[in-house]
Every structure is written in C-alpha cells, then in structure tokens.
Symmetry: C2
Subunit: 137 residues, 2 copies
DNA sequence: TACTTTCTTTAGAATCATTATAAACTATAA
DNA sequence: TTATAGTTTATAATGATTCTAAAGAAAGTA
C-alpha cells in the first residue's frame, strides 16, 4: 500500500506516531476525491459499519482533535448539539440546510468580498466565516 | 410596576401566559439599556445569585426556547459546548474573541453587503450570519 | 537485539448541557 | 366556582464529550 506511506510520512512530520488506528482514520478522511463534513459519530460509524473495524471512540476523538490541531481538519462554527468537522481546510463558507440538517460548501469565490468596517483595538482577525441557513422553498 | 404591564401584554399577545417566572425572566433579559449575550447557565445564575430567586432550570430552558420561537431572542451560530443567546434580535453579526471567549456585536452596517453567488434549487436563504474570530495581537 | 522512555489506545467512568417525564400547580374562560 | 389547558418543577434520562488509569506499541539508545 503506497497510499499509506504518504500518511505515515505526514503523521511523522507532524510529530504524530503512525499507529494503525491513525492510518485507518487517514484513509477514511483523506483518501477520497471530494472533501466532506462529518461528526465524530459519523466517522465512528463508517469505521465500525463499513470497514468492520474497531477503534475506540476515545481514540477517534483524540485523533480528530490531533488532526484539527495540525490543520488537517477544520471545525465548523455552527450551533448544533454535535460538532461538525470538515476535511476541506481551505478557506470557505457553508450553507446549512435546516430541512436536511446537512452542510454544503460555499467556496470563497462564490461570496463577494467581505469587508468588516469595525476594528477592535489590540485585536486581530483570525477568521471570517459565513453560515448561510437555507430551507425548502 | 408598569414595566411589567408591558411584559404581561407582550406575553399575552404571544400566546404565552404571564407567569411570575416568565415575568422575572423578562425583567432580566429585556429590562436593560443594552442588549447582551448569555447562556442558559448565565441566566440561571443571575436569577439565583443576583436576584435570590428560585426558578427551575427546566423552566429557564422552556422559557428561553419559547422566547426564541416567538422571536424575542436569537440563538447564535457558533461552535461551543454551550448555546449562546442574544437579546439583540435585529439582523447583525458577531465577533468572537478567542482570548476572552466573549461575543461582541457587529452591526449589519459595519459589514459591506454580502452577496452569495450560489443558488441551490428548491431552497431559499433564511439567514446569513458572519462570525469573525479575533484574538490578541 | 534488549531495554527504556514516551506516546497511544482502550474500556469504562465521569461530566456537563440539554431534554423528557409526570405530578403538582396556576391562569383563564365559561 | 369549576373545568381545562397551559406551566412549573424535581428528577431521571439522554447524548456528546472528556477523563482515567492501565495495557500496549513505537522510537531511541546502547
């Protein structure tokens, strides 16, 4: 499996030991054409149901947080009982469909430049995220 | 107290019975100059510690949700372990200061008009919210 | 290779916000 | 005053997330 060699290197470079649990999670998250949104519960189900593997929930939480810290995942800012993560770490925004409870990417160039005309002394902007809520017409 | 007469009327108009618990919560939330942000836990503390009153947590949850449903409160979209509410129900956005974990209003006219150049068939936009994360310089 | 250290994984317990339940209570209308 | 529908409440239940402490695995060193 040469796919995994990349992941092994990436993990090592990040200071994370390439354990088989982390490699499995890498495959699920980063071995796809398209980026996607997920909750820890989603990820856990993919691993146990689709791949028939057993990785402890605690490990999945640990790994997701470690990946987020390293910048390989983004946490999405929205109010929900669950926390959503995004494998698309480029700067972009989201639609949230209240009818289906699903997130949809809204790329940066599909939004006209946002200009914030308010400065807060001693503070700098670290991110600007738009959440567009949609519903059935 | 003529303040309360207003609240009694407002509650009645909204189809909510003006109970003493709801009136007390109205006073805390709406009897101030400035709007503010709070969590259910904050509100509960204000009532028990500052006002020395006892309102069940369940009632506070019920009331806050009822007020939100009627449009007297807004829920703020951001990822946090707690849910934040806002007594400012006009259309506006937020700064979230990661250093202090506090929300700051960003009024609509302090943001240049947002244009979303992506339409989703069969869906309509119900809200557009910007969250600007800031940190110490 | 053997040993040591440090990092990881794990099951299960603990925590914390929130919601559900069901009985007691209260506002309202007739 | 009485009946009814809406409310409050304590408490239990739920569900996501974090903590714990012990067992296991990777990396570094000789």
């Amino acid at each position: 499996m040469n796919i995994n060699i990349d992941f092994v290197n990436k993990l090592r470079i990040s200071g994370l030991r390439p354990t088989k649990q982390r490699l499995k999670i890498c495959e699920v998250l980063f071995n796809t054409e398209k980026t996607f949104h997920f909750t820890v519960n989603d990820l856990s189900k993919i691993i146990s149901e689709k791949l028939n593997q057993k990785i402890s929930l605690a490990t999945i939480y640990n790994t997701v947080h470690a990946f987020k810290k390293k910048g390989y995942l983004k946490e999405i800012s929205m109010n929900s009982d669950k926390t959503y993560f995004d494998t698309n770490t480029t700067h972009h925004h989201h639609f949230f469909d209240s009818s289906t409870m699903k997130l949809i990417d809204l790329s940066d160039d599909q939004v006209e430049k946002i200009k914030i005309n308010k400065a807060l002394p001693g503070k700098k902007i670290s991110s600007v995220e738009i959440l567009v809520k949609i519903e059935n017409e």
